[in-house]
């Protein structure tokens, strides 16, 4: 049975194989996005001592599907004097980079759609494309609130992208490669091998910049309800709005997955090298202690939880404070740490960098 399936797979043309692989990545991702919205409402609900959605389906589990159905049946309204083509293409421009970046994410050893050498640069280039959707949406809406939101978002994303880029420079210095698979492989050796510890400042800067980059609370001035209604997507309704929503959550998952890959060892098990590693030979449950995709998914989920936790915990930053944090705090921290790291690599300090 397995043999014949493999033969059938080999027989398929290459483009069809790639399409199937893309489907295998994107469809669960879309499911994860839908249920991330549900998880967010539930988790923040519990943090605020209320129940969260619990009406649709058992324990509210069908809520995301009901939301999607509702949004699909709503009318997409294009404002008067709006630039129609740009207005409609903007949500797609935000979602596409968030999905395309998954092509180079290694899920497990060798389990990656495109094993390219410049993967880290590719991810950086694509995440920087996402801002166009926001800017174009704000401009094409022909609305002052939307425009203000777009300007805020553009300035914020540029400010934090530089800090993010420098944090990634630190990772590629330590990993010695731009290939994400090789970066994960460079973090082998269990918990102690993770870049999170020698690169702690860069890790913190990267994750916080990631929160800012996705326009999530406490950096959500681009949509700041109390000031500019809903920011760049104030004029959007129905499915066009839903695509923006999907893009925001897809970006969150992407940033969480990248943090997992770059700083906490991706698919590598934290027990490797410790006495617990012996447990990986236990018959039925041993795989839990071994390397595998479950570690990657678990680490990603942990960072996603942090995204939701931040939203429930912190008040929104004031705009000038956001700019100050990005330019005057994060940027110097990353530059100083790059110098420290360069010295460490040149001197070959063992506990840090081989």
């Amino acid at each position: 049975m397995l043999e014949s399936t493999l033969q059938l797979w080999e027989w398929l043309p290459v483009w069809l194989q790639i399409l199937v692989k893309i489907g295998i990545i994107v469809l669960p991702l879309m499911g994860a996005v839908a249920y991330l919205t549900f998880a967010e409402r539930k988790i923040i609900g519990f943090m605020q001592v209320r129940m969260g959605p619990n009406r649709v389906g058992p324990r509210g589990w069908l809520q995301p599907i009901a939301d999607a159905l509702k949004l699909m049946t709503k009318e997409v309204i294009v404002p008067t004097n709006a630039s129609r083509f740009l207005f409609l293409i903007a949500p797609i421009l935000t979602l596409t980079p968030a999905l395309a970046a998954w092509a180079v994410i290694p899920f497990a050893d060798g389990l990656v759609l495109a094993d390219v050498d410049a993967a880290l640069l590719y991810v950086l280039a694509l995440t920087s494309m996402g801002v166009y959707g926001v800017i174009i949406a704000g401009w094409a809406s022909n609305s002052k609130y939307a425009f203000l939101g777009a300007l805020r978002s553009a300035a914020q994303i540029i400010a934090y992208e530089i800090a993010m880029g420098f944090a990634l420079v630190g990772v590629l210095m330590a990993g010695g490669s731009l290939n994400l698979g090789k970066i994960v492989a460079a973090q082998s050796g269990g918990l102690a091998g993770w870049f999170m510890f020698p690169l702690l400042p860069l890790f913190v800067v990267y994750f916080i910049s990631g929160v800012a980059e996705t326009n999530r609370a406490p950096f959500d001035v681009a949509e700041g309800e109390s000031e500019i209604v809903a920011g760049f997507h104030v004029e959007y309704s129905g499915m066009a709005f839903a695509v923006f929503f999907l893009a925001e959550y897809a970006n969150m998952i992407l940033i969480a997955a990248l943090t997992a890959v770059l700083f906490v060892g991706g698919w590598q098990s934290p027990f490797y090298g410790s006495w617990l590693d012996a447990l990986s030979t236990v018959p039925v449950v041993g795989w839990v202690f071994d390397h595998g995709i479950h570690w990657f998914l678990g680490k990603t989920a942990l960072f996603l939880f942090c995204f939701l936790w931040f939203r429930a915990t912190f008040p929104r930053y004031r705009y000038d404070q956001i700019m100050r944090l990005g330019w005057k705090v994060f940027l110097p921290i990353t530059i100083v740490w790059l110098f420290v790291e360069g010295i460490a690599i040149a001197a070959g300090w063992q506990p840090w960098l081989a």
Binding site: D117, A118, A125, I135, I136, W139, Q321
Partner: protein
């Protein structure tokens, strides 16, 4: 034999690039023009990718599309460009502009048409080996053979950055801003006074 996929992609990207570049200078709305410029950069990056220059292609997208053009768009969106005054000097500047355009066209024709630069004068380079890393080769070249050029370019860029900041760093008395360091040093006793008072009846 069906058409070579690389050739098809080349023609597709070139057509889009030429179309977008033309639209940059013909479209009326400046924001649309900037967006067409973005499209031009993007298709050029795709063309470089076809030339096996992956690193340069990705850096083009990262730097020009991801950062420079965002700032450009940012500025153009905030400017309220009135088209009529811009067109006023059209006839006045036409002779100069036409001369420059003619010179450029003639020069390019000379380059493309001359015998030394014709495409068939140069053999197509052999495709890179499967394992070759474009990024690595570029890095090795930049940091060994062209180290001085690279460092000098970096120094010039640094000077330009400092100059740009110095030009905009002037005291503006009318702007209001807070000192966050002072703000976070505030203590309870500076701001809050607890007074005891009898409950009123």
């Amino acid at each position: 034999m069906i058409l070579d996929i690389y050739l098809v992609l080349f023609w597709l990207f070139s057509a889009v690039a030429v179309f977008a570049a033309l639209r940059v200078i013909t479209v009326r709305n400046p924001v649309h023009a900037v967006l067409f410029l973005v499209l031009t950069f993007f298709t050029c990056a795709a063309l470089w990718m076809l030339l096996e220059a992956e690193f340069l292609a990705i850096v083009l997208v990262l730097v020009y599309v991801g950062a420079v053009m965002v700032l450009f768009l940012f500025v153009v969106m905030m400017l309220d460009i009135n088209v009529a005054p811009v067109r006023e000097g059209f006839i006045q500047y036409l002779p100069l502009a036409a001369t420059v355009a003619v010179i450029v066209v003639v020069e390019m024709a000379l380059v493309v048409g001359s015998k030394t630069f014709r495409p068939n004068q140069m053999a197509a380079p052999a495709p890179a080996a499967a394992g070759a890393s474009n990024t690595e080769e570029l890095g090795v070249l930049l940091y060994t053979k062209y180290l001085y050029h690279f460092e000098i370019a970096a120094a010039i860029l640094l000077v330009a950055i400092i100059a740009a900041i110095a030009l905009t760093m002037r005291k503006r008395p009318q702007t209001k801003y807070q000192n966050p360091a002072q703000q976070v040093q505030v203590r309870k006793q500076d701001r809050l006074k607890i007074i005891k008072m009898e409950p009123e009846k």
